[in-house]
Amino acid sequence: MSSSPSTTPPAAPASTRAKPANKGEAAADYLDGRLGIYSLAKANLRKIFPDHWSFMLGEICLYTFVIIILTGVYLTLFFKPSMGEVVYNGSYAPLDGIRMSEAYASTLNISFEVRGGLLIRQIHHWAAIVFVAAMFVHMMRVFFTGAFRKPREINWVFGFLLLCLGFFDGFMGYSLPDDLLSGTGIRFMEGAVLAVPLVGTYIQMFLFGGEFPGTDIIPRFFTIHVLLIPGVMLGLLVAHLILVFYHKHTQWGGPGKTEKNVVGMPLMPVYMAKAGGFFFLVFGIIAMMSAVASVNPVWAYGPYRPDQVSTDAQPDWYMGFAEGLIRVMPGWEVRAWGHTLNLGVFIPLMLFPLVLVLIAAYPFIEGWIIGDKREHHILDRPRNVPVRTGLGAAWITLYVVLLIGGGNDLIATHFHLSLNDITYFVRVGSFVLPIAVFYITKRWCLGLQRRDKEKVLHGRETGVIKRLPHGEFIEVHAQLPQGALHTLTSHEQPQPLELPSEVDENGVARKVGLLTKTRAKLSEGYFGEGGQIPKPTVEEHQEITSGHGHH
């Protein structure tokens, strides 16, 4: 019903909206008048999302983050972040009468007296382990499919920052119980901080409020762990998701899919049900893991004392590669002019962020080499970009080799190997293996490209054997359907950059900068003869299918 023309002077425009049909619409109208929800919902309620199993990896990250927040809030209701000393007399008999910090005592209380406390603690820890693992795999998915290309480079950086913050928040989280294992981790951190030239001892004193261990580090870690880092992560996470919505999701190439559309099913109802349901699936599986598998049984380690340690002291898995760096590094120390430069610790401390930054910077490096300014929404099949795929595989190899170094004691005892040999292997392997894996992966990708080409040109094997009149046996190949042909041939194959000729048209020598030359070299490596197999052309296809040759 439209409002009738008013006789009063024109004030603010009155609503011209029809009477709502029911209470639900009335409520929505109320909110729309104040929050503008209709415009928001118009773009998003039936927003199309493409379907692929690998797109749910990011969802696992989101859901485990939510689980961590929920369980973490519960834990703060019982945990006492204090290093004040108490004598334990709770229900865990083996530690009865032992001196310990309130942090450790309250963790025992959560584990043994609070009903369900152990379950929530284990869900919190398992979810954290899965969270970092899922971020990692999600990042690899984005990397290998080229989903980081324009316009998503900045969202890649947001994701990378979330991964790094996840590392540190995880480390601080498992440091809080102040048990023998986590205290050893903090001691390691102290040693690493001391190795920083010039300011190391100052940072150490300021961080710990005095000499190690002092009584400040647990309360300080607590604030950082529950407030500072999660707050930053929440902000980054929201920004990450807003950009996912804004950019619209990437999709795999195929019939009907272009750079200008996104093909899939609507948010409401399909993805509300699927993604909403997936949250419960993830939560359920982590609850089951926490019911059957113990994680970080702090009561078994005992309270922290700087003069005690247990063997098999290992960080959580995601810190494993940093542990590997620190374990396999030779103990180089430079002493001069009354100072000590502890390279044996400082170099690993610097390599740790460098290994991570290498992968974080990759989209910008690749973008610079290719010089492509267009938007990309169709994912690359990893085989179609062999150099990138090889580099990614090399990076994973480096990570895994260092992880082996970080667990050298466990590997030595489980497989009856010499610990020293494992260490020497990691020292050499962290240089040699990534290079080897790069070449193997690249050649593998090229092989797969050749296979795609062969399938396009000669069809697939039908399994039908035919005998020709002159006695020869051949296997009949069937042409692929047009959809498959399109999928296998629709990717772009960039050509390497060409340097301008050394002299211009007037014969004057042209100056080509070192940077440009490097870029051309790298571009040749990516897209030159050794970097990709030319995809089949229509002419090649027609020549073969028009009757010459049949396999």
């Binding site: 009903r115 001691r187 102290e190 190795a195 300021f206 261990p213 699936l281 009354g338 610790v345 959809g483």
Partner: protein, 365 residues
């Protein structure tokens, strides 16, 4: 869909053309995009009985979830926290944790499974395209925004009134200093704190006894058997009449530097003369704190005299002045000079001559 019984080699081309689902066949480009494939209905789309069955399955999962939540509450009330139960193949586990975890897992998982099953069987699975629009604005918008910005900047006079601009930048740059200064009281300055340990109180006139970490008793050289490893701490001194006790307020801080490893090696097996002289009749007192990043060293091989740090596997030869023979440590373990007092007990008469623990920038030794 293509068929496998190809009877003629030339057949495929005709097939490829028929793939277009109503689109005009593109004869000259076999690689052309044939467009979205037609939707294939699922069984539940065409068979109402299958749809009903799916509906019952989804509801069954939601009902199971409800029952599991009831089970969760019942377990919370009924099971004592200290009850253990044998569950194959887990062994003896906390009954409460297992029951709560499994019921919660079922309650959550069934909601998720129900929702996903609902989406996959009963909600529409027709794929549809949505248009993408370029992220970057068109030239007109761009020009408009830049013009607006220029107008705003000109009206502020930011570029013209340089004094305002410079003083504003100066004030903004300086004000964070207040926050930096506030961090000063996070901790004391390092000064020489890392250079000394609690043993600094030991002098030839007032030696400090080495006290067994486990028994809290002073030790004589004959108490240390060849091949054994004994952990020791400082005994009574002027500032600690009862020796270092774990009830002392600063115990953790003190033991982090004062902890000792005592070993005894036959004097003829000692390879390092200086180390031998710091000991007493083959009894050597090394710092227990690893020189790599500060873990306590606790693994000792009596035949090889090697001590191994369990954290990062730095290995020290205790018969050779605790030289590093493997691993990431950068320098030997510091050794405390020991002797005996008039009653024959092992004592220290001076502090370590070098800082214990991991090295740091100001370490001059």
């Amino acid at each position: 869909m293509s068929h496998d019984n190809i009877s003629d080699d030339k057949l495929p081309e005709a097939h490829a053309a028929s793939e277009g689902h109503g689109l005009p066949a593109v004869a000259d480009d076999p690689f052309a995009d044939p467009g979205l494939p037609a939707h294939e209905p699922r069984r539940t789309d065409i068979d109402e009985r299958a749809a009903k069955r799916a509906e019952r399955q989804v509801s069954l999962m939601f009902v199971t979830s409800m029952l599991a939540t009831v089970g969760f509450i019942a377990s919370y009330v009924a099971i004592k926290p200290d009850k253990l139960v044998y569950i194959f193949p887990l062994g003896h586990v906390s009954a409460l944790n297992f029951a709560l975890g499994m019921t919660l897992a079922v309650a959550l998982f069934c909601i998720g499974a129900g929702a996903v099953h609902w989406a996959r069987t009963l909600m529409s699975d027709v794929e549809m395209p949505a248009e993408r629009h370029p992220i970057e604005a068109d030239d007109e918008v761009r020009a408009d925004v830049i013009q607006q910005f220029k107008t705003g900047a000109a009206e502020s006079g930011f570029g013209r009134r340089k004094m305002i601009r410079n003083t504003m930048i100066g004030s903004m740059a300086m004000v964070p200093l207040a926050g930096v200064v506030l961090l000063r009281d996070l901790g004391p300055l390092p000064e020489k704190k890392l250079d000394h340990t609690g043993w600094i109180e030991a002098t030839p006139a007032a030696p400090i006894r080495l006290v067994n970490m486990n028994t809290d008793e002073p030790m004589k050289a004959e108490d240390i058997a060849v091949g054994s490893l004994t952990f020791a701490k400082p005994g009574p001194s002027a500032s600690r009449p009862n020796g270092l006790q774990d009830s002392d307020e600063d115990f953790q801080q003190a033991i982090a530097k004062d902890a000792l490893m005592l070993i005894r090696i036959q004097p003829e097996d000692l390879k390092d003369e200086k180390s031998k002289n710091l000991g007493f009749e083959g009894v050597l007192a090394y710092s227990k704190i690893c020189t790599h990043v500060g873990c306590p060293i606790s693994l000792y091989e009596q035949q090889t005299h090697h001590a191994l740090c369990p954290c990062h596997q730095s290995t020290f030869d205790l018969s050779d002045g605790a030289r590093v023979i493997f691993g990431p440590a950068g320098h030997p373990l510091p050794q405390l000079k020991i002797t005996t007092d008039t009653e024959g007990y092992l004592v220290a008469t001076q502090d370590f001559t070098v800082p214990v623990g991991p090295s740091f920038w100001e370490r001059s030794a």
